[in-house]
């Protein structure tokens, strides 16, 4: 084609939140790729100042609907870190279960509702109800298993009510745990068909980049250190030494670079960097899918999410079957001031909270959001994708761009939060 044309996508669909994209092609060259996150800023960074530190997690939960549990949990951990509170082993298990419920629900929403329609060339999961009724049944069953587990452990799946600084307001009863295990086991069977679909899918897009995630021993939410494809792990408290903000003048979000270069966070990086710490049952039953990692193919982010959903189910079943939950009082908070850092793996990548507390009130909170970290990388990917497809009809290029963006599973509601940044 090699002619001049513009692409303007307003309000990209089947993603969480609001984003536009515009780019220009001039004499066969792709120029000015602008992925614009158009979410209105809600100014949480300012709104948290002066709020009681023990309550602030409930406010920041409202940053995001779909990954509210990630914000809630990461903020609780940062407050505990600042005020020298060490939660009990039971609390740590309950936090793993809470976050696994979110993973199952959130990954299932992305895979079944946002990505599968692309695979089957359908507009939506509603159309798939006629063509693939069995898969649609499975979609809602898997999603429900995660949603119900979060409700059982954390009170609600969105803006959970039971997690608090130093513990949980209530612990699961035996009946609830047994019902959840039964639902998880039923959902588990459906994951194999899902993984096979994404393994067989012929979508492919590769570009050299860097992968970053936080690491721990059991592939659960809590990040002890930051690991990357660039080598030596670093303590999570040093994250700001390695992440550099990139001002994106046309977007309400800032981007990030890792040691001066674009990078990716999320399921694909996690599978690339720490697949050996997946649950033993997942490793036993999903070997043929796990062996495809490490991978540079962004569409394997979908397969990585499906494997992670299986892991979340397997680890949750083990934790629920082997733990006898006992009522316990939250750990008493004695300190009134301090600075704390927490890093957790949200479904879409590493989420960092840095909090300063003075006389039991919040002084400042800084947070680094997964989608903001991916924003620079997505821009480079879109440029290369358009260059590779430049001779195809414009409508097909637009579809390919949306498909690629969806593979990242971006969350625009989250992405607009920042502090101390000035546009020029």
């Amino acid at each position: 084609m090699h002619q001049d044309f513009d692409i303007n996508l307003e309000h990209i669909t089947k993603i969480e939140g609001h984003a536009d994209l515009s780019l220009k092609v001039r004499q066969g060259e792709v120029e000015d790729v602008e992925l614009k996150i158009t979410e209105n800023k809600r100014f949480y960074s300012q709104a948290v100042r002066g709020k009681p530190a023990l309550n602030v997690a409930q406010l920041v939960s409202r940053i995001c609907g779909t990954c509210s549990i990630a914000h809630l949990t990461c903020c609780l951990e940062a407050v505990e870190n600042a005020l020298k509170v060490e939660p009990s082993e039971q609390t740590k298990i309950l936090r793993k279960l809470t976050t696994y419920g979110m993973y199952i629900r959130d990954h299932a929403m992305h895979l079944y509702m946002f990505s599968l329609p692309d695979v089957f060339k359908k507009d939506s999961i509603i159309e798939m109800a006629d063509s693939h009724p069995e898969l649609v049944d499975q979609a809602f069953q898997v999603k429900a298993a995660g949603n119900n587990m979060s409700k059982m452990v954390a009170g609600r799946a969105v803006h959970s009510t039971l997690p608090m600084v130093g513990g949980f307001a209530k612990v699961p009863d035996k009946e609830g745990a047994a019902k959840t295990v039964a639902e998880l086991k039923a959902a588990r069977e459906h994951l194999f068909q899902l993984m096979q679909i994404f393994k067989d899918c012929d979508f492919k897009f590769e570009r050299e980049t860097r992968y970053v995630c936080s690491g721990n021993k059991d592939y659960s939410y809590l990040g002890d250190e930051i690991i990357s494809s660039e080598g030596v792990p670093v303590p999570k408290t040093h994250y700001l030494w390695h992440l550099q903000r990139v001002i994106i003048p046309y977007s309400t979000s800032t981007g990030f670079q890792f040691r001066g270069k674009e990078f990716m966070v999320g399921s694909l990086p996690r599978m690339n960097l720490k697949k050996d710490s997946l649950h033993k049952d997942t490793r036993r039953d999903a070997t043929s899918y796990i062996s495809l990692f490490p991978s540079k193919d962004i569409y394997n982010n979908n397969l990585a999410q499906a494997v992670e959903t299986l892991h979340a189910i397997d680890h949750s079943i083990e934790l629920l079957e082997t733990t006898e939950f006992k009522p316990e009082k939250p750990v008493e908070v004695k300190e009134k001031s301090g600075t704390g850092v927490a890093a957790i793996e949200a479904p879409r990548g590493t989420l960092y909270y840095h909090i300063e507390i003075e006389n039991s009130n919040v002084k400042e909170v800084e947070l680094v959001i997964p989608t903001a970290q991916n924003q620079v990388n997505m821009g480079f990917d879109i440029k290369k994708l358009v260059e590779e497809n430049i001779d195809r009809p414009k409508e097909e290029i637009e579809f390919e761009i949306e498909k690629l963006i969806r593979a990242y599973d971006p969350c625009m509601s989250c992405a607009t939060h920042f502090l101390k940044v000035k546009w020029t």
Partner: protein
């Protein structure tokens, strides 16, 4: 008043300034209700689920989120024109908070964020949906209350003659 229209209830799901928690609650309500709702409801506009969306000629528009800029204010005015019924869902739509927390900032904090308000052409004050257009129902809650949402949907399925 009953509208007695054949076919399905034509529904739109719109979101503005918010965390989209009520959209997530809606997507999770489908887990238990999709078999019952899909034959009765035509989701004409729901960007969280569909690529092809039509915002015109709606029976019921569910609107999530507060209104923070002129572009969104125009859109919500259009939704009102294109919909027989409009329902505000979730706290941000119903009372403008917490999306509009900047309304309550002290003068110093307002000054700190003013350059962003100006740069992205935001309105001076974030508004709830009922402050911009008349609404027929509200489903309050942060996120919206599940049972209340089901009750409102059921009410309109009967009122529009889709369900007896």
């Amino acid at each position: 008043m009953r509208y007695f229209m054949a076919g399905k209830l034509k529904v739109g799901l719109f979101s503005f300034s918010c965390c989209e928690d009520s959209s997530i609650v809606f997507v999770e309500l489908l887990n238990d209700h999709y078999k019952e709702w899909l034959p009765l409801v035509d989701f004409k506009y729901a960007r969280i689920m569909k690529t092809k969306n039509d915002p015109t000629d709606l029976d019921v528009a569910f609107v999530e989120g507060a209104i923070a800029n002129e572009r969104d204010r125009q859109k919500v005015l259009d939704i009102r024109k294109n919909s027989k019924k409009v329902v505000a869902i979730g706290a941000c739509a119903c009372n403008g908070q917490p999306a509009g927390q900047r309304n309550m900032f002290d003068p110093e904090t307002k000054k700190e964020i003013q350059f962003i308000v100006d740069k992205f052409k935001m309105m001076d004050k974030v508004l709830s949906v009922p402050e911009v257009i008349p609404v027929d129902d509200q489903v309050a809650g942060c996120p919206m209350d599940e049972k209340r949402f089901i009750a409102v949907l059921e009410k309109y399925l009967v009122e529009f003659g889709i369900k007896k």
